[in-house]
Point group: C2
């Protein structure tokens, strides 16, 4: 991946999924570079965005703006649910989604299925002060497996699905990378179908849903497939300066058929949590579903 850092010390993102445009960050120091069983893992200290995690040449997070993503992908589904107790996180190895889920006192169990143990290890080492802060949470069960295809996951989920005991997940959050590489199958209808089967009544799914400026046909295809599986399907977005085109969306599906399911929060952050949050608020929640007409026309049809 050294080729991605030029001789003036600029890291340039690989642009497989966004041809013709490129975002770069000035590198202070490369802190880590390895190849796991699944992908290339790079961590560097940037000059103006804190530490940066890069997988397969694509920026996953910077310490300066990660909150805009982590808060939204976690709190949009969690504050849409009256009392989420059982949560599954797919992906999210950097720990940021886990950090946000752990902030909900009502959550009793957090299962996490991250394909790449290498990402978790690297994050615990280099992002211990930012995203990887909740790996010690007593509610967490961490499994390393392919959530979409690996029999180990089926087994992990089955453990939760034994008759008479496990009522299903209230919220499933899929914090995946792009559908090029290890996360490809996470954008397939079959995976959404397996998530539906693992939900408790009224449960909801929130997945990394790419960027409306770049991948509207892909988003439209997944949203349309989800409409055959769930009574409520919505698309929301957040703004993250270091993601391609500065924006990323969420495909959200719920078993709750009521009119404002997902788009209006039914709980709100209070006290200390309210002060901690930098991007999420109940008003931001509702506004995140308001799409410009160019996207609205494509996704609501």
């Amino acid at each position: 991946m050294a080729a991605l850092i030029d001789k003036e010390n600029w890291f340039a993102e690989s642009e497989v999924m966004w041809p013709g445009q490129r975002f770069s960050l000035k590198v202070g120091e490369v802190l880590h570079h390895s190849r796991s069983a699944f992908q290339d893992i790079l961590v560097f200290q940037s000059e103006t965005y804190g530490r940066v995690l890069v997988l397969d040449g694509v920026i996953q997070l910077t310490e300066r703006d990660e909150f805009a993503y982590q808060e939204m992908i976690a709190h949009l589904p969690l504050f849409s649910h009256p009392e989420p107790k059982r949560v599954l996180i797919v992906g999210g190895g950097d720990g940021g989604v886990l950090r946000e889920v752990a902030r909900h006192a009502c959550v009793e169990t957090i299962d996490m299925c991250e394909i790449d143990a290498g990402v978790v290890e690297v994050s615990k080492k280099f992002f211990a002060e930012s995203t990887a802060t909740a790996y010690g949470d007593a509610r967490l069960t961490l499994v390393h497996a392919d959530a979409a295809a690996d029999p180990a996951v089926a087994a992990a989920l089955a453990r939760r699905q034994t008759p008479g005991g496990w009522p299903g997940y209230d919220v499933i959050i899929v914090d995946s990378s792009d559908p090029v590489g290890p996360a490809e199958t996470l954008f397939e209808p079959a995976f959404y179908d397996s998530m539906r089967a693992a939900l408790a009544p009224g449960g909801a799914v929130c997945t990394q849903g790419e960027c409306m400026w770049l991948h509207l046909p892909l988003i439209s295809k997944v949203v349309s497939a989800c409409r055959d599986l769930f009574p409520t399907v919505e698309y929301a977005y957040t703004c993250v300066p270091t993601y391609p085109s500065g924006q990323i969306g969420f495909i959200m599906c719920s078993l709750d058929e009521s009119r404002h399911a997902l788009v209006k929060p039914v709980r709100a952050p209070v006290g200390h949590l309210q002060d901690q949050l930098k991007y999420y608020s109940p008003d931001v929640h509702a506004a995140a579903f308001v799409l410009p007409p160019f996207a609205e026309r494509e996704l609501r049809k």
Copy 2:
């Protein structure tokens, strides 16, 4: 400016105002490059964003995403006003704001004050099919002068301020470049004060307000100064992938003191206009003022 296009034909934006980060577009062909009396003007055909206008090394517009900026800076103030008849555009030489203003049938006069005749000429030549479509509008009076400092502008405005005739502008839109270079004085309180004096009762101002991710202290300073001048001051934003950090905001000031002035539209696009708009809608209007807490805390205090 040739140094900004590397030997692999990538144009990289100059990063004076956003150190440590850089956005690049792949160049198909350079169509124009000149130096006007005020600034460096570059036009190129990009591989994936259509034609691109660059001033002093900073992207002003691409044909692929310009609508997200032009529609919002124009329609936020225009649809907040019950019947805007007299509109002043400061800057906006590419013609995009003029195109949007001209879509309002109730507008009777459009004065435009663009410092650089070179930008207008270049835009008429290279963006005749996209932004520079309304320069032939019979309602338009175009003046080339410095709106903040040049006596010619004072004269132009005075023409409108003669006793017994001119009631003032209903809407003033300031589509300026960044406060480094010719637009610097447009971010000073004195300029906001002169705009206030040129407004009709209930009139409003909407100015290019930089990016909350990059320039919150600058925005906060201008917003705070405006609060001493106007009863209503708000900040809204839009998402533009090719602007730094993918987002740009608007500082809006109104002489209307009512509770929802600016933040709720009082008119809505209908018929053909409704179909034409790609970014603006009444719901997008309201959502544009909903800021994430990290910005809200800084600007509302």
